[in-house]
């Protein structure tokens, strides 16, 4: 069975013992390799469980086929190619209460990639915000 290349135990991580060591110490793996993926760690909570189960793995599942979500005991571990976005207006509608992007940040535990907020949207992207792409200021209507 093939495993998504963004999975927690993808690639070399499936190997054990000598096979792992051979690849780990291989000459080509003695320098870093650029990656256009992003990683998001979400602390488990009532709201974040809903975001994961109902939105990212529910209504939005078809929007990003590279997204992998794994249950790692106290947290959800997510990895995707390109970016992951969470619209808190949509979360508010689902939760039936006001839920701002700062409410979301209460339980966002870690990010690998460039994470930022704009309005009520949280984004983590592989783009180099501030270098390749300007970080936008909030615009009023």
């Amino acid at each position: 069975m093939s495993i998504n290349s963004n999975a927690y135990n993808a690639g070399i991580m499936q190997k054990t013992g000598k096979a792992f060591a051979d690849e780990y110490f291989a000459e080509e793996n003695q320098v870093v390799h650029e990656s256009d993926t992003v990683v998001l760690v979400l602390k488990k909570s009532d709201e974040l469980n809903t975001v994961v189960e109902e939105i990212l793995l529910g209504s939005h599942k078809d929007q990003n086929s590279t997204l992998v979500v794994e249950d790692r005991a106290g947290f959800w571990w997510l990895k995707a190619t390109g970016k992951i976005e969470i619209d808190c207006v949509e979360v508010s509608e689902l939760l039936g209460k006001h839920y701002s992007v700062y409410d979301l940040l209460v339980d966002v535990s870690s990010t690998i990639g460039r994470a930022y907020t704009l309005g009520e949207t949280f984004t983590i992207t592989s783009e180099l915000m501030g270098l390749d792409v300007k970080l936008k200021d909030f615009e009023t209507a």
Partner: protein, 527 residues
Amino acid sequence: MAISTATKAATDALAVNRAPVSVGAQEVHRWMQSFTWDFDKNRTKYSTKYKMANDTKEQFKLIAKEYARMESVKDERQFGSLQDVLTRVDAANRVHPKWNESMKVISNFLEVGEYNAIAATGMLWDSATAPEQKNGYLGQVLDEIRHTNQCGYINYYFAKQGQDAAGHNDARRTRAIGPLWKGMKRVFSDGFISGDAVECSINLQLVGEACFTNPLIVAVTEWASANGDEMTPTVFLSIETDELRHMANGYQTVVSIANDEAASKYLNTDLNNAFWTQQKYFTPVLGMMFEYGSHFKVEPWVKTWNRWVYEDWGGIWIGRLGKYGVESPASLRDAKKDAYWAHHDLFLIAYALWPTGFFRLTLPTAEEAEWYEANYPGWYDMYGKVYEEWRARGCEDPDSGFLPLQWFIENNHPIYIDRVSQVPFCPSYCKGASTLRVLEFNGKKHSFSDPWGERMWLSEPERYECQNIFEQYEGRELSEVIAEGHGLRSDGKTLISQPHTNKNGRLWTLDDIKKIGCVFSDPLKAL
């Protein structure tokens, strides 16, 4: 009466930029930026060789009101869980005894790092010239205060609610004799707050936080959960909810200097020095705590390191910055070797020096030895058979008269301390990336375990003058040093540290150590 220039500027700005009618946080944030505070000619006490741009952004658009609301909800959730359900189900006594000991080290040491990060980010606030960047750093100052309190609280919780409080309650009093303390201060203190301000940001935010907090504060919660500890995930994952802003601060530090000429000259060297400084300590210590300080294993430490450090931090942070001239750290090859072997080397030495610690260590069981050999082929021949010999000689039994340190002496394997990282190493018996090199300066000998630290020392030797335990206590008998260094429990005779976690096993006392007659000697004197 004439108004001051500052008041006039504020009045004029208000006339042009009316306060928003809405109280939307992002709208208020946008409005505040319209004041265009001018820090361009900022004078700082904390200089840097880089010129930080003054239009750098803060990625989360925080204002004080939202910050305070967000953090108070985090605290409410954390303390609510700890003080209600976790206390009710006696969670602290369900933790595996081995993991209980690991948390004495992890939470006490993290507390020191968080405390020093308060100063580090205060310094960065003073150095930066962009208003938004200053805002990001200021938020981090407040976060670090919160984290210091959180780490202190979890130690208090373990001590009050759990098992074997000694070490959770007052670990810091053993800081003079514990061989892991000084290295921790180098990585968690000196690296964050001494020298060039941007170098400190690279150490703290770009490497310490963006790279090593993921294993230290996130992956650790998997190990905690597997070993029955539900308190650590509650607290540490809450700490990490602030770290993502700190990672962004570190990235924005790089953005702010990306177009400065100095970056092309110095950034790769500073990044490599920071990476080596942080990995030199975190890699072996975290690996040792996870694997040797747990009963139930999640995965080999080298895989945790490969995922979070090499693939994700290396590829997603450093790799992506390649087109701006950021290179793969030159020390990566040695760091990878350390990630595979150095925690095994360190545990061998830590167990040999156990009386000087503040936590209890346990030799690997036969079942664990099989796990190590399966995941690190060659482990048994190097380490496993040594542990079998130590166990056969009664290293856990106070009546045996045997300290594993004697094995190193009998077999002519001297233990040195690396002057720069302060990490102990045994060059004649190790598989990590350590080799002995010795230099003299001002009539004193200095040992180094690697060329990366040696280079840092050569550029500023006066920075690394910290005495190590062998220099400090040369000629002194071990039990005398333990008593002087507060390594005793409240009865005044039993050691805080022990070479086992057996609840029915007898605990070593000062008298048991004294009758062995172990005397400190400085291995550099013999060269």
